[in-house]
Amino acid sequence: MTNETDQFLQSVGSSEQGKRVSGVAISDEVILETRDVNVYYGDHHALNDTSLKFHKGEITALIGPSGCGKSTFLRSLNLMNREIRGCRVEGEILYQGRNINTKTENLYELRKSIGMVFQQPNPFHKSIRENITFAPKRHGIKDKDILDQMVEESLRGAALWDEVKDKLDKSAFALSGGQQQRLCIARTLAMKPDVILFDEPCSALDPISTLAIEDLMGQIVADRAIVIVTHNMEQASRVSNRTAFFYMGDMVEYGETNQIFQRPNDKRLNDYLTGMFS
């Protein structure tokens, strides 16, 4: 490993430790809560009665084998599932105490408050600046000074500013995969969301970029709740305060991350953690 990489890893490790103690729950303030959420794709019952709470200042990891319903659950939280034909979400999803799983809820306003970052970095085919201002413009912000300020704030927030400040008008596609993913996080941060949902945000990235994203999550979680779906057990144990284990459409076990990884109660979780299946 090169010297540079070494330094980077050290800085990542230290800043994370400085800000947060991972694996220990620290907050009582619930921002988002689900009560008996069920999801169906046509006749297929993909998720059974899932009730979870997401706390301010905490990262919650959703783990489990492929097809266990964790991504389905994540996509219910900002009702992205509604965009899929034939998908039905039942149960209550309470954002700041208000049920949002209703016919009258304005999803498009709601998604300002509940942001989402995807598996594959998906910046728009636009400049770096326009990628950030895309959403604020939709929500009615036209003033150039305010937009410029938002661009800088969001990019600083996503630890990307120093790398791109001289090429804001260049195409976002000129960035590396890890930078693109941080741009997508910056784009989400511009809306100052209370909740950010991460759907396997690092599975398309190299190890260094992965650590940068994990570090970033630790920095931005302070005044919001973060929910992350991940296949990477180590990532879940590194970044999260609480963990929920899903298996075949059921939320099997939920608890503080330390407990989940060190003293799992459910046999299926234990088998999963010890690599009996994946």
């Binding site: 728009f124 085919h125 000129a174």
Partner: protein, 303 residues
């Protein structure tokens, strides 16, 4: 099999057969361009027709001789104007419909699109242009007479409508491909930022598909510019500057078909028809170059 051919020989045969195909195609293309250029240019070099007069003159009359120059009237501007008019108007009619249909089948009802709409569109591609011309002559020209209360109903407008119908399948199919090629991540990203479905289609899907959509439009225009038969059936065939959209006119292509068998090879009149052919080739070359430029620019901005 009587005798197995040695492998090395077989390779040589393959090489020479495919190589010969390439040589043949190249030869045909080069010979074609050379021939059209040679005949087309001799109008100006050998026969002494003024190039500027050809492009800007407004009187086209091959049967009569201009007393002043001793040459037939070869002002091609009315034909050029008519050709561009039918091309542009038919594109303006066809493109919104094509893109609208593409949005519906890609973004709104993908299953319907794949199962019913695309086979239907493909059927439309296969209809011979004479059928379009026939429909145009009996239905569209008739409708023009009724709607606009004119005597003939022939001219640029019915020509453009017939052409619009003809290029519609091409432009629609290419637009569908263009929208399908937009990565799903863009749509998801946009929805997750609070854009509605329509805002996503408008600001993200169409925006990022613009280069491919432009290509679709220009390919449609190329086809409209070169189409002859169906246009000939509804445009009236009067080689004069059209004074309105319902005034009988004649495009470059229809003039070519009307006059090609009338004049002897080597006559000024025959040469000037080759000049029209050269002009058509030049235009299609320009269209193709634009498509390549768009493609190159798109590739560059994708990094």
């Amino acid at each position: 099999m009587a005798k197995q051919m040695p492998k090395r020989n077989l390779e040589k045969v393959g090489l020479s057969v495919t190589g010969a195909c390439v040589a043949l195609v190249t030869l045909v293309v080069v010979a074609l361009i050379f021939m059209v250029a040679q005949r087309g240019l001799s109008t100006f070099i050998k026969d002494g027709v003024n190039v500027a007069e050809f492009f800007t003159g407004t009187e086209w009359n091959l049967a009569n001789t201009n007393e002043a120059t001793g040459l037939p009237f070869t002002g091609a501007l009315p034909l050029i104007v008519t050709s561009f008019a039918v091309t542009v108007i038919s594109t303006i009619i066809a493109v919104p419909i094509a893109i609208g249909a593409a949005i519906f089948v890609v973004e709104i009802q993908p299953k319907f699109g794949q199962k019913y709409f695309q086979p239907l569109i493909e059927l439309l591609v296969g209809i011979p242009s004479v059928v379009f011309g026939l429909i145009g002559f009996h239905v569209i020209v008739g409708a023009m007479r009724v709607i606009f209360n004119v005597d003939l109903g022939l001219g640029i407008l019915p020509g453009s409508i017939v052409l619009a119908l003809m290029i519609l399948p091409t432009v629609t199919t290419l637009s569908i491909d263009a929208l399908r090629a937009v990565p799903d991540g863009y749509r998801q990203g946009s929805l997750a930022l609070g854009y509605t479905r329509w805002q996503t289609i408008w600001h993200v899907v169409l925006k990022s598909a613009t280069p491919s959509l432009m290509t679709a439009v220009i390919l449609g225009m190329t086809r409209a510019f070169g189409e002859t038969l169906a246009v000939r059936m509804v445009i009236g065939g009067v080689e004069a500057m059209p004074e309105g959209l319902l005034d009988s006119a004649s495009t470059i292509t229809t003039t070519l078909t009307t006059s090609m068998a009338v004049y002897a090879t080597g006559s000024v009149q025959n040469d000037v028809l080759w000049s029209l052919g050269l002009l058509l080739m030049g235009m299609s070359l320009i269209f193709i170059m634009i498509i390549h430029l768009i493609g190159a620019k798109g590739a560059k901005s994708r990094g």
